[in-house]
Symmetry: C2
Subunit: 327 residues, 2 copies
Amino acid sequence: MPNQPSDPPTPDALPPEFGFIRRHFRTLAGEGALGLTDDAALLRAPAGRELVVAVDTMVEGVHFLPDDPADTVGRKLLRCNLSDLAAMDAAPLGYLLSVTKPPARDEAWFAAFAEGLHADQALYGLSLLGGDTTATSGPLVLSLTILGHVAPGGALRRNGARDGDGIWITGTIGDGALGLRALRGELADPSGFLARRYRLPEPRLGLGLGGIARAAMDVSDGLVQDLGHLARESGVGARIDAASVPLSEAARQAGPDWLATCLTGGDDYELLLAVPPAHDDALRRAAAARGVAVTRIGRFDRTISGVTVQGPSGETMAFARTGWSHL
Amino acid sequence: MPNQPSDPPTPDALPPEFGFIRRHFRTLAGEGALGLTDDAALLRAPAGRELVVAVDTMVEGVHFLPDDPADTVGRKLLRCNLSDLAAMDAAPLGYLLSVTKPPARDEAWFAAFAEGLHADQALYGLSLLGGDTTATSGPLVLSLTILGHVAPGGALRRNGARDGDGIWITGTIGDGALGLRALRGELADPSGFLARRYRLPEPRLGLGLGGIARAAMDVSDGLVQDLGHLARESGVGARIDAASVPLSEAARQAGPDWLATCLTGGDDYELLLAVPPAHDDALRRAAAARGVAVTRIGRFDRTISGVTVQGPSGETMAFARTGWSHL
């Protein structure tokens, strides 16, 4: 018989994925999601704004640890995507979520995962628009597509840095990379600060960087490598001073042996900015208004290519690798 | 040493994922994609239109066979998403692609995959906006987010069917499900027609169903199950006549033992429509203008709940399961 089922007959019941979506995700759905019942979501872009769209995927064991709390996995997934919007000076509209689920991830895990999303939806002012649920024999894969909006022509890009622009960074660098090592038992983290920074990055939304920064990107794969991308796309080189890279108290306590990890480890989700010197004060004011620290760590320089990092003793630092590659 | 690398040092080279993206995906990038260099894509919705957004994920071994030709995997991924737009009477704008790659999928595979996308981009008039590339130890996971646009208020939904509306279907039903069985060696497919229909569904875009149909969805998980969703969301029941369900010549040749598979197997990507009888001629004309067959297979009926299928000999058919569940 061709249609011999492997599952018990359920002629009238809803397929299991409907229950799964209903139990965990329907309360996350907002305007335009159509209650997650239809083939697609509907939305209108705010009048006179450009749309910004990005997708970021996280794989268990690659982007998060299998035993990371589920609520922080959901929040980190959303925050990494929000960080992409922040890098463009965009504001969030909504998101779509694709869950590719191994059998071992149970109901309790997804309930906590959705709770994390719920908390961050409220914090950042967006909601779920739609998604898809599939099964896999491999590790959990979570893919999130985010939609945002920005003033027409106002999106910050990576290619706008000019010779002489200051290189600025928000927050502190290296905490996420050290947090990952701490969770792996390679580093002490008595207060848990570093692990928290790894699990819950803070997207730097709403700084109002348009008219202040000339280029921006978020640091996700390592400061030195990501700065290299921004410099290359802008057609300039970059010089930074390792001693001026802002480190948290916890990162400083880890000691100088961990400096290279901070500069190249990634998982920062801080913004890297190119700011002409005349805008320094405007940047400081905009950041202060949001309670975000900003630090100048160097300058773009058209006379060099690539990134030169001056170490704490004045030497040029060399790195075995400058950041993370996903392949 | 904390920053001991596991890969050979590549201080100045681009990370491998950049080369991967450049080699395979940059030529797919269109307006708004910013050359795939930035954190997000930029786009403007066509003036006075609503946006439509959907995501569909395909997992190797679940949604496609590990040895399906790579170009058809790319095309099927795009077409499944285009089918979601078609169901809403929307037109395509662009898409984002997330590739979660196991080591065994090589360069040649992705070159062919991108070639398939390239061909279908030209066919359907859209381009790549952005994406993400990650690695996995599990099967290949491909997630595509599609953006489209529709006349404001004109999107077809699942909840619009009314008592007495005809149940219509585009194309033929069951070819995809039979094609999968043929590729598994369970069924003869001398011409390869069924396998082609499994690998290359035809999204029914551009039919202009607004003002003709009252509800629509695409049949992806099995006709009986999907019709049940549309009926339930609309608050009515549905009666269909199995003998009137359009089958291809190849599906008819498979014989009556395969009828249940055709009705419940899924992978059709045909449109299921609720059309008031007064609009029958308008529907036929709209479909004929695009060279698409449409067939009335039954009627929505508020006096019953669920889906009743009358079999070829007049009996009510019972199904072990009515469609596919992804969990």
